[in-house]
Symmetry: C2
Subunit: 191 residues, 2 copies
DNA sequence: ATTTGCATGTAATCTGTTACATGATTCA
DNA sequence: TGAATCATGTAACAGATTACATGCAAAT
């Protein structure tokens, strides 16, 4: 008896790949580069996940591929989304799911237990975290500068832009939070 | 030959449990309730994870337990942290790790692909998300009101407070981001 | 000729989720 | 006496990470 597909799981990677292939045919390698590059700012995946998932999507008839030759003999598989895959993807894309549980962040757990540290240790921890988020924020702000003027609605560039703005706002807030935590732990500071 | 403990993994659950047991002896059931209750706002775990992890921590001599009887026969295991466990925990607590990759959020992936929707569909998606985050924000703000005045530095209450403030700031920003996205997608709106 | 990049995969392990499974105690 | 809560576990599966493994092509 064939196993029924389990419909209760998220399959986020599936939709990430279908979404990319819905825009353009690509090889697994190109998909890897995309997710390791600019996209990794908000969606990171490992190379080793890609090929098994593409294989699975092929078996499920969500994608197909044709083999192309680079140079003399090197084979690459150029993947395309199928009609079934596109339908699946569009269904996911419009879906309004209930909010998932807040993602776990180890640092927030450290903060939760931070009264078990000395004041100085806590300050070191907070300052270090702040420095790291400031660096990430500056990097994202550079991305925005490189982006140029605000794109037009209903374009791929606008989607990119919304995600980028979201990432920047998130980092800004994290920095403000950490600064606030430092204040709260320094009784000398003026509130 | 005995397997070496793998030191490259995070073991976040380990430290979450040790941190709790470092404050008070507890049963697995009580730990479950804690993480399902107030803490679930920023750190959610499933009941089924608890008992295997407690078993493992016992084998690793990070915790011990004594059996107590409720009623006539019902056994419960009251866990305590060991000295070794406390050392482990404190080492983790002061550790400044490099930032982990940004946690994956399906919704941001949907936004990234949202130019493949109609303007109306996109608006529905954004508005639905906004409503959900507004509800969560109100819930968190209620928690803050219940919290009372700002706690003193160096107390457990202050740690709680910092995490709560962080959660509120995060939700506020998410709401502002979603409102901004709605603006960006409505050419009629005044910027 | 050597390094870097293109290209595709597998194996082992870890973490987390869903679902199942059982039974005692307390309160209405 | 029946429902809610206390209390502890297991099994199967899903998802992600780390590490390994191989080999061609292009550029310096």
């Amino acid at each position: 008896m064939r196993k029924e597909p389990n419909s209760t799981t998220m399959r986020s990677l599936k939709y990430a790949l279908l979404g990319m292939l819905n825009q353009q045919d690509m090889t697994g390698y190109e998909l890897t580069k995309l997710f390791e590059g600019a996209l990794s700012e908000f969606w990171s995946i490992k190379q080793s996940q890609i090929y098994p998932e593409l294989k699975r999507l092929t078996e499920e008839n969500k994608v197909t591929y044709r083999v192309e030759i680079t140079g003399q003999v090197l084979e690459k598989k150029l993947y395309s989304i199928t009609e079934q895959g596109r339908q699946d993807f569009m269904e996911w894309l419009v879906r309004s799911a209930p909010l998932p549980p807040t993602p776990k962040e180890d640092f927030r757990l450290q903060v939760f237990f931070s009264h078990q540290l000395t004041s100085a240790q806590r300050q070191t921890l907070l300052k270090n975290q702040l420095a790291q988020h400031q660096a990430r924020l500056e990097h994202l702000q550079q991305n925005r500068r490189d982006f140029g003027p605000q794109p037009a609605p209903d374009t791929a560039a606008m989607s990119d832009y919304m995600v980028l703005v979201g990432a920047i706002m998130r980092e800004e807030t994290t920095c403000r939070w950490l600064e606030r935590c430092l204040e709260l732990n320094d009784p000398a500071a003026t509130p």
